[in-house]
Structure formats: C-alpha cells, structure tokens
C-alpha cells in the first residue's frame, strides 16, 4: 500500500511541494529560534570563560557581577589576594555604554588591570597596556589604530577579540580599569567584581564568592523573559507546522474517501491504508525538515546577532517533525478509518 501513497504524492505533487515549502519555512523559523536561544547561552558561557576567572567576588547580597548595582572598592582585590586559596585577584568594572565612531553602537565595557585577569586573548593586535587603549570585539568592525569615543573618552583600538558579545550580540570593549572607572564612577576606585585565580577558601567580610556557573546565571537572568518568549514562539511555530501538515493530510483523506472505500472493498486492511497516509505525513515532514536546514542557514545571517544553531538541533528537528507530522495527521487517519467500503458502490 505504500506504493499507492507514493503514487498519490506524485499525483498531487504540486500541493505536496507547496506544503513542503510552507512547512519548511516554519521549521526553518524553529531552527532559527533554537539558534537564537543557543546563542544567548553560548555568549554567556564564552564571555565568562574569556575572562579566565576561577571565582567571582561581589558585594554581599549583590545579584552577581553582571547585574549588580552595589560596587565594591577596587582595593579589596589586595585583601582577596591575601585570602588562602587565591593565587591572584584583580578588580573588574562591568558596564553598558555607547561607542561613537561617528556611528553610535551600544557596547558592553569591561575595565580591568592591564596584564591582569579579565583581559581576553586577542585575535589581532595586543592587549590593553594602559589608559587610553581598548581591545574591541571584531563585531564592531574596527581596525587596529582606529580611534573611538567611549562615553566621552577618546580611546585607541590596540587589539581585536573574537566573539566576546553578550545580550543578543552586543559587542564588548575591554579598557584599562581607570578608564572604565572614569566612565562609570567619575573616577572613583570602585569595581563590580573581583575575579581570582584560585578559589578563596572563605569569603572576605562583606563579599560573597560566586562560581563561573553562578556568574553566567547572573548574566542570563535578565534574558529569561526573552528566552521564554522564544520558547513560546517556538511552540506556536510547531503548532502552525502541525496545522499545515494536518490540513494537507486531512484534505487528502477527504478527497480520497472513494478511493479508500474501493481499496477496502477489494480487501485492503485499515492499517495498511493508515500506514500509507502516515507515510505521506512523515515524508512531508521529513522533506520540510531537510529543506528547513537550508532555509535556516540562508536566513541566519540576516539576524542582527550571531545565530548559532546547535548541530543537535538538526536531527532533533527531523525527529520532532516526523512526530508532529504523525500527530497532525491523526484527524486524517481517523477520517480514513471511518470510510465505509459501501461508499465504493456509491451508497448506501
């Protein structure tokens, strides 16, 4: 009976192609949504890893290094460095600002001690050696030697770092801590966090110790509503895909009632007719899933931030697509089961 299902697809190929195209667009969107969600987590993981901290110390009761509104004295770094278990400790200022050149771009700013912890490896050029210099994310499109204005400060680009973004691809610039303090605290010697090499065995008074995972969770917390929205949209997209597949299979079952009746009257078992219809749904879903990969790859560069579709998303899409296809075809299958073979005679 699978041959009949395939011949029917061939016979109604125009409709099949249109359904595959429509469904693949929806599936492509789900891939992009999955990619956007993965990007948010990857950004957080990358930036936390790039700063090379074993532990993060923030003010007691503060939410975390990326969202705290309670700065601590930068000089506490010396106190932390003296704590057992700590090999080195450096203060970091973490801010959000704008960069002019002359276009205006929102940027994350990380200020750290030149040569200290918290300065990322550079892809090009060198690390910040002192005040008046920055290492910029390559996403900003800046070149070495370019001069930029950061919150009123005139700075020179001395190095470029790769993929150091967070908050939906917002690029990061790394500056000397005194420049960041001038920008965020009018020059006061404050910091958001002190990062360490080695983990302190106990927290110095007035501070709390956070791990990388806690720091990443702090960074991602403000994005929770965004990721929830993505998950919700994804669920809606799956529903739309199920609707398209379900409609096509149901329509097919409606149009083929007489055919099913004839096949039943000539000895075809219900289950083989159902298998044929299910096969059509699976083929439609699978073809749409395969096409969706190409569509997602084609559309991904159009997003204002890097969409990182995880490789596992592709086989998962195929699996879920087939499942959605089968579930969506349930109404059509039910219709096919209900066809009476007497219909082949035109009644009763």
């Amino acid at each position: 009976m699978w041959r009949i299902a395939l011949r029917d697809l061939q016979w109604r190929r125009r409709r099949f192609v249109i359904a595959v195209l429509a469904t693949s667009l929806v599936f492509g969107m789900t891939l992009l949504m999955a990619g956007a969600d993965a990007s948010l987590h990857n950004e957080g993981r990358r930036i936390v890893a790039a700063l090379g901290a074993d532990a993060w110390l923030v003010a007691g009761g503060a939410s975390g290094p990326f969202t705290t509104s309670t700065p601590i004295p930068a000089a506490d770094a010396d106190r932390v460095a003296a704590t057992p278990g700590v090999l080195r400790a450096d203060p970091l200022v973490i801010l959000h600002s704008t960069l002019r050149r002359p276009w205006v771009r929102d940027v994350n700013v990380i200020g750290g001690r030149p040569g200290g912890l918290g300065m990322p490896p550079t892809a090009e050029g060198r690390a910040v050696a002192g005040s008046g210099e920055v290492v910029a994310d390559t996403a900003l499109g800046l070149g070495l030697g370019d001069r930029v204005e950061l919150g009123g400060l005139e700075l020179e680009v001395v190095g470029l770092a790769d993929r150091v973004t967070w908050y939906f691809g917002t690029p990061t610039v790394f500056a000397a801590i005194q420049d960041a303090q001038a920008l965020g605290f009018k020059g006061q010697p404050l910091a958001m966090t002190i990062i360490t090499q080695g983990v302190p065995r106990s927290a110095p008074s007035g501070l709390q110790v956070l791990s990388d995972a806690q720091a990443q969770a702090d960074l991602e917390r403000p994005l929770a509503s965004g990721t929830q929205s993505i998950a919700f949209i994804n669920a809606l997209l799956w529903l739309v895909a199920a609707g398209i597949i379900g409609s096509i299979v149901y329509l097919s079952a409606l149009e083929r009632q007489r055919e099913f009746a004839v096949l039943k009257a000539t000895g075809a078992a219900n289950r083989s007719l159902l298998a044929g219809l299910a096969l059509q749904a699976v083929l439609l879903s699978a073809a749409a899933a395969v096409l969706a990969v190409g569509i997602a790859r084609l559309l991904a560069p159009g997003f204002p931030f890097t969409v990182e579709i995880p490789p596992s998303a592709f086989p998962r899409l195929l699996g879920v697509a087939v499942l959605v296809g089968l579930v969506a075809s349930a109404a059509g299958l039910r219709r096919a089961v209900g066809v009476q073979p007497a219909l082949a005679f035109g009644g009763p």
Binding site: M1, R3, A342, F345, G346
Partner: protein, 330 residues
C-alpha cells in the same frame, strides 16, 4: 478458484437509514444461482440492486437472512475472514469504474494484489497478463484520466479479476459507455461466466436481458394486471401494509379510519396523516412500481376496498389522476 460454487440467498432483508427514515430495499429475498451462471439484477434506481451487490461483496451487512457463496456463509464473516473473502473470493466492477486516479492502469490492477501482499514481480506479471488479455497492453502506464470510458471499464474488470475470484459482481457496467464500448464489455462479462464462476450484474439496462442465464426483477411491475376489487376488514391497530413492502393495491376507505405513519431510522414513527371514509391511499407505489414509503394501520374497525393500480387509474380517470397523486400521503 473453487469448482461448483453456487449462491444461496435465504430470506434476505436489508434496511438502512436514509434522510432520517428507515429504508428497506430488500425484503425477504430468496435466490439460488448455480455455478457458471450470469445473473442479471434488473430494476429501477432505488430498487435494491446495488444494495444486494454490496451484501454479496460482504461490504454491507444485511438486517436478516443468510447469503452463502459456495461453502462460505458471507453474512457470518468477521475480521480476517471477511478481508480474506473480499480479497480472494469476490471481485467487484464498480459503477463509474472507481479506478484510483493516481495509479496507472497496471497499478490499479495490482492494487488488490498489493493489499494481499503478493510479491511485486508476481503482481506486476498478473496485472500485465490481465490487461493484455483485455487488449490494453499499450495502455499499461496510462492513468484513468488518459483512458476512454471503455478502456477504464476494462481496467476495472481486470482489477476485479486480479485474484481470479469465483464471484464477479458488476454494478451498472454499461452506464457511461457508448454502444461500441458496451458491446466489448458485454462480451467480456459473458465470457467470464463459466463453470466455477458466477457473474452477477446489476443494471437497469434491459438490453442486457439476452445476456443473462437468470434475471431477478427487483422493481415491481408498474400498474400491473387488471383485477377485480377486493374488500378487506381490519381490527383496530392491524397493519394494512408496512413501509418497504412491495406495493400491489390502492385502497379506498369504506368505513373507519386509517393512520399513515413513516418509520424513522431511530425506530420512532412520524404520523403523516389520518384518513377517513371516502379517502384513498397507497396509490403511489403501485402506480410507479415503488415500494411502500409509509406504513398504513387501522385506527378502529375499518373496512377497505383494494384496487389494482390499472383499475384505480381507470376509476379515477386520467383527468383527476394528477390531483390524486399530488394529494397522496404515500
């Protein structure tokens, strides 16, 4: 194929719901057919031809009675045995061919073989052999839409013969065909009826009469013979005729009252009319060769006179017949 297959139908009644009412196209039918015979079920639309074919094909379960095809009690088949019967023991040529539009002529003939899980190569060979036999070897890869009516009918017959069944049923096989195509199809059907196989053809086409070994008239004769009027007496609640009965007489009410009711599919009754002395009823069935469309029952002690349809028409006169038909409750 089984040798010596015959058909034995006993007291067959088939009812179904139509438009909310109970319809009984077959009522108490007995029929015996011997192997090798071609049987013609002749009748007007709605006379029960297709219904009887459906029951023979085991795709419609009768309300009462039995059908035996060879040593198989068709009316008792269930589950796998039913599927097995449909696959191997009966082949059906449906009205308007009912070929699967997406399949080629070859695939249409192969479809029942696929359903029976015959190996692909064997199924293909069988389909090509049948289509070749019916002169369609050059149309194997054509879809139904690219075939003439006669060619489609031959594909449909080939499909019915895919499993070489001992019983072949054909529903209005000459409908939708021109006379040249009809000739070819008739020849084919006649050839199929040979010892070991029975062919049952349902048609309203009387040109097929000479083709048949046996004819079953499912429509009752229109008007019928002239006969003397008869007087009938009924007790309260006694039935004069029942919905679905064959129609013979038109009645006039001499004394008492008659209620006309229509049986609904859910078993309830709908009162159509209550008629008193001087009124007549039951004229539509005998005049048009139809079964009774309602039930007539005496309300109290009732006396009726029954007329043959021809005599009733003469009694009323052609001028008043149209008015009588317009006012008829059943």
């Amino acid at each position: 194929m089984m040798d010596g297959i015959d058909i034995d139908i006993r007291d067959l009644t088939i009812e179904y719901a139509s438009g909310g009412y109970l319809v009984r196209p077959i009522h108490g039918l007995d029929l015996q057919v011997a192997s090798g015979e071609l049987v013609l079920l002749l009748g007007a639309s709605g006379s029960g031809k297709t219904t009887l074919l459906s029951a023979l094909a085991a795709i419609l379960r009768p309300t009462a009675g039995t059908i035996w095809v060879g040593d198989t009690e068709v009316t008792a088949l269930r589950g796998a045995a039913l599927t097995e019967y449909r696959r191997h023991r009966v082949g059906v040529v449906f009205q308007t061919f009912n070929l699967v539009p997406s399949l080629t002529a070859r695939d249409n003939v192969q479809a029942p073989l696929w359903a029976a899980r015959m190996p692909a190569r064997q199924a293909r060979a069988r389909a090509e052999q049948l289509l070749d036999r019916f002169g369609l070897h050059e149309r194997l890869d054509h879809r139904p839409g690219d075939l003439s009516g006669g060619q489609q009918q031959r594909v449909a017959i080939a499909r019915a013969l895919a499993h070489d069944p001992p019983l072949v049923l054909a529903d209005e096989p000459t409908a939708h065909l021109d006379y040249i195509q009809v000739e070819g199809v008739l020849r084919l059907l006649r050839e199929l009826a040979r010892p070991g196989r029975i062919v049952v053809v349902a048609t309203h086409d009387e040109r097929l009469l000479s083709l048949a070994d046996r004819v079953l008239h499912l429509s009752q004769p229109v008007l019928g013979e002239s006969r003397p009027p008869e007087r009938f007496k009924y007790e309260p609640g006694q039935m004069v005729f029942e919905q679905g009965d064959r129609s013979e007489l038109v009645y006039t009410i001499e004394d008492g009252e008659i209620e006309i009711v229509r049986q609904r599919a859910d078993g309830s009754e709908e009162l159509v009319a209550v008629l008193g002395p001087g009124r007549y009823f039951g004229e539509l069935g005998p005049l048009f060769g139809l079964q009774r469309s309602a039930t007539a029952r005496a309300v109290g002690h009732t006396v009726l006179t029954g007329y043959g349809a021809r005599d009733f028409r003469d009694l009323v006169g052609s001028g008043r017949l149209a008015e009588a038909i317009r006012q008829a409750p059943c």
